[in-house]
């Protein structure tokens, strides 16, 4: 716990945590914070020629190509992006941990099959896989989250697998075994607790990857369906207007980068703090 508290004292990490917290709160309270309905296409939100409006007093971050308030869409978009980030990553971590732990602990032919399958998924071009999956299961928020987790669990499985193998070889597990402890007991009271730091680190870093993948899928037009805003599809809808209406890309773009950066920073700090091999060195 001390370590975790120590995290907050590094100013950069503290700022990252703060940013994540703020985004989460804004997303949670979007209906109260957002100045407008994010779906409302305002007649006066477009110029007479149909161009989006730059930031001004009425629309603080300008309007999008349909005359909707960009700020409100960003706030609601945070919900989608975070929701997908958390759910997809949660599923990915769960699958990854299950596969890695089983393969590393049970070994034998089950372990072999699981790890061979993991290797197979590693060789799959992740983005192509995601695009194909998204095309088959016409994308909704849940499908997008599922597709992303189908792609992202692989790395975690690998890490957990090698950690489990390493842990199983350690003396204390061997001692437990000779003392006749049941497999489940070893699993839950000895392996899992030791794996928690790794899982925690990867869970945090994984959110960053997930947020980026969601944005990229949306950018390619196979993400969350309109009119539901997500940070990725706001950019997708506006990308061709980039030179004439840069705010439509810059604001959501900055939001994506900052959120992904924050999760990366926190995850990295967690790793420094929790990885025993690095302890005392810095």
């Amino acid at each position: 716990m001390k370590i975790l508290l120590g995290l907050c004292c590094r100013p950069v990490v503290a700022m990252a945590l703060l940013f994540i917290l703020v985004v989460m709160l804004l997303a949670l309270f979007a209906p109260w914070v957002a100045p407008y309905d994010p779906f409302e296409q305002f007649v006066e939100g477009l110029s007479l020629e149909g161009a989006p409006l730059p930031p001004d007093a009425t629309y603080h971050l300008g309007t999008d190509l349909l005359g909707r308030d960009l700020l409100s869409r960003l706030l609601y978009g945070a919900r989608t992006s975070l929701l997908i980030g958390l759910i997809a990553n949660g599923i990915a971590v769960l699958i990854g941990t299950l596969v890695g732990l089983t393969a590393g602990f049970v070994r034998g032919w089950i372990g072999t099959i699981l790890m061979r399958f993991t290797d197979l998924m590693m060789a799959f071009p992740a983005l192509l896989l995601a695009i194909a999956l998204a095309a088959i299961f016409q994308p909704s928020v849940w499908i997008v989250a599922l597709v992303i987790s189908m792609v992202n669990w692989v790395q975690i499985a690998r890490v957990i697998y090698s950690e489990t193998v390493a842990l199983s070889a350690r003396d204390f597990v061997a001692v437990e075994r000779t003392l006749g402890a049941s497999a489940l007991r070893i699993l839950f009271s000895h392996l899992l607790p030791h794996l928690v730091p790794t899982i925690l680190v990867w869970a945090t870093l994984g959110i960053s990857t997930t947020v980026l993948l969601e944005a990229t899928l949306s950018f390619l037009g196979v993400g969350v369906q309109p009119p539901t805003p997500s940070w990725g599809n706001i950019i997708f809808e506006s990308q061709t207007y980039f030179t004439s209406a840069p705010w439509l890309v810059l604001f959501p773009g900055a939001a994506i980068v900052l959120l992904s950066l924050s999760f990366n920073l926190v995850g990295d700090a967690l790793r420094d703090a929790l990885d025993p091999t690095l302890k005392g060195r810095s």
Binding site: A123, F124, P125, L128, L133, F219, I235, F242, V257, L261
Partner: protein, 308 residues
Amino acid sequence: MLAFMTRRVAYSLLILLGVTLITYLLLYMLPADPARQIAGRSATPEVIANIRHQLGLDLPFYQQYFNYLKGLLQGDLGRSFIQRSEVSELIGARLVPSLQLMGMGILFELIIGVGMGIIAALKRDSFADRLLMALSFVGVSSPQFIAAMLFLYFFAVKLGWFPMGGYGEFRHILLPALTLGLLGSGWYSRMVRSSMIEILHQDFIRTARAKGLSRARVVFRHVLPNAIVPVIPMIGIDIGIFMGGLVVVESVFGWPGIGQLAWQAIQQVDIPVIVGVTTVSAVAIVLGNLLADLTIPLIDPRIDVKKH
């Protein structure tokens, strides 16, 4: 060692087989009918059925896949439904630009990443170190499409330093490769930094310094060669990450590589092309991993290959 390599290669082939199977299965499930697309708007149901039969699309799945494998063994990737030409020809024409971009991208990654890592390690805990590490973090946290669009806008449109797209001359490759390189350099710089710091603390370096060798000499003759070692297998793994980046970066910069080919094929459900590109990408990734696996034991003899 030979036995290990043979086993690894055989295993890699097995993985490729799995990749083609899964890709084929996914596309088989796709709710789109290539025969209808080929037949056009004036086609009657009989014409469509006829085309479906000619393409073998009316066969059960396992038979379609078996036919594909049979062709694959003879080096035949099939014919594109939409472009009506050999998939191998289409991919062949696109492969060189993609490899060029990938090569340049990885080169930039290494130059930028290793350079930043060295500086950061030498000036450890200084402002420069913090700044460089922060930048590397921003790099790995940015989606390629945002970076690509920003770079295109500022460096090509606003500043006019680079051409805005196109292919053929050296100047064309710079901006897309820089985009890939800058974003990917973060992992390398962090890795080089930490391995440099580790080595700087080791006894033989202290001895060298104590012997009175100049700092620059120690760094370049003793520290750097050792610090760069872990980077080599990383390049292999990086190839896989690159394949994804290519789709996005090629489409923003109009680079005539397999990323664009893949994207167009997905839009049109051009199954032979999608399977072909996936297979080729998987080959690249498997080769990369193979490279990583084979170089690690050469670099770090402590790792016993037999355990793998």
